[in-house]
């Protein structure tokens, strides 16, 4: 669909499966809502990674950028 920016997804991993927050980069309310949630989980210690849509490589992110399209977040792990 030309002219339509890709939908962004923040998927937060959890015991019951992931919780997905989606946003359209050009809709301020959605961006602000996801940004607020993003900041909350980062504050809580979650690790957030961008998943490159083409290479599927991961990159850690600490600031929310509405232009990103695929984010995965999970609680920090512990050594077993």
């Amino acid at each position: 669909m030309k002219g339509v920016r890709a939908l962004g997804n923040l998927r937060i991993l959890g015991p019951d499966g992931d919780t997905t927050l989606s946003w359209r980069p050009d809709v301020d309310d959605e961006v602000q809502e996801v940004r607020r949630r993003f900041d909350e989980i980062v504050e809580a210690g979650y690790l957030v990674f961008e998943l490159d849509p083409s290479t599927k490589e991961g990159r850690q992110v600490t600031d929310f950028d509405p232009r990103l399209t695929e984010l995965r977040a999970f609680r920090p792990m512990v050594g077993g």
Binding site: R11, G17, R72, R75
Partner: protein, 184 residues
């Protein structure tokens, strides 16, 4: 999305697993997906240590292989909560790719058990253990010594046969997966 004919925690578990599995497949490149479908694990190349490869299966510690394909050890790093196994694979993959240094720092390194590469330590140990016994058998005369030698020979031949059997097993390497694919 719930499984037909199920309800309650089991259906929730299935649903969570299905979503995790779908997300995992969506998070893998074609090569990783092919490896996952064939073996149940993926391999993530190190960015910090050229040639090193991490094998991630979501339910065991992350296995570490050198560029030569030899097993170097494993890194135990588990989620604080009970995540579906496909989610753990995604988390480990992203952790390694995006923050490998932190991944290595947070995880516990498990080294492979030391094993002697020659039979010399075993022979010395056997002499140490059986020496006094053999000396005592001298009191029984030549017959006793012969019986003891036969007994020791049988023991040694059993040990050699066992070593040969172990040697015929596939080595733990990147080319030969050590275990079958993970299950739920």
């Amino acid at each position: 999305m719930r499984s037909v004919g199920r309800s309650g925690p089991v259906a929730d578990h299935d649903s969570a697993w299905e979503r995790a599995e779908a997300m995992l497949r969506d998070s893998l490149c074609p090569h990783e997906l092919e490896t996952y479908e064939r073996h149940g694990w993926i391999e993530v190349p190190s960015r910090l240590h050229p040639g090193r490869v991490y094998r991630v299966d979501g339910w065991r510690p992350v296995a570490v292989f050198s560029s030569a394909g030899t097993f170097e050890g494993a890194i135990c790093l588990r989620p604080r909560e009970n995540l579906p196994s496909p989610d753990v694979i995604v988390a480990h993959k992203l952790y390694i790719q995006g923050a490998e240094e932190e991944f290595l720092r947070a995880g516990n390194w498990l080294s492979p058990a030391w094993r002697p590469t020659t039979a010399a330590p075993t022979v010395v140990l056997m002499l140490f253990l059986f020496g006094p016994w053999l000396l005592n058998l001298m009191r029984l005369g030549p017959g006793g010594i012969a019986a003891a030698c036969v007994g020791v020979a049988l023991l040694v031949s059993w040990g050699i046969r066992r070593m040969r059997t172990d040697g015929s097993r596939p080595a733990l390497s990147r080319e030969a997966p050590p275990d079958p694919a993970p299950t739920a």
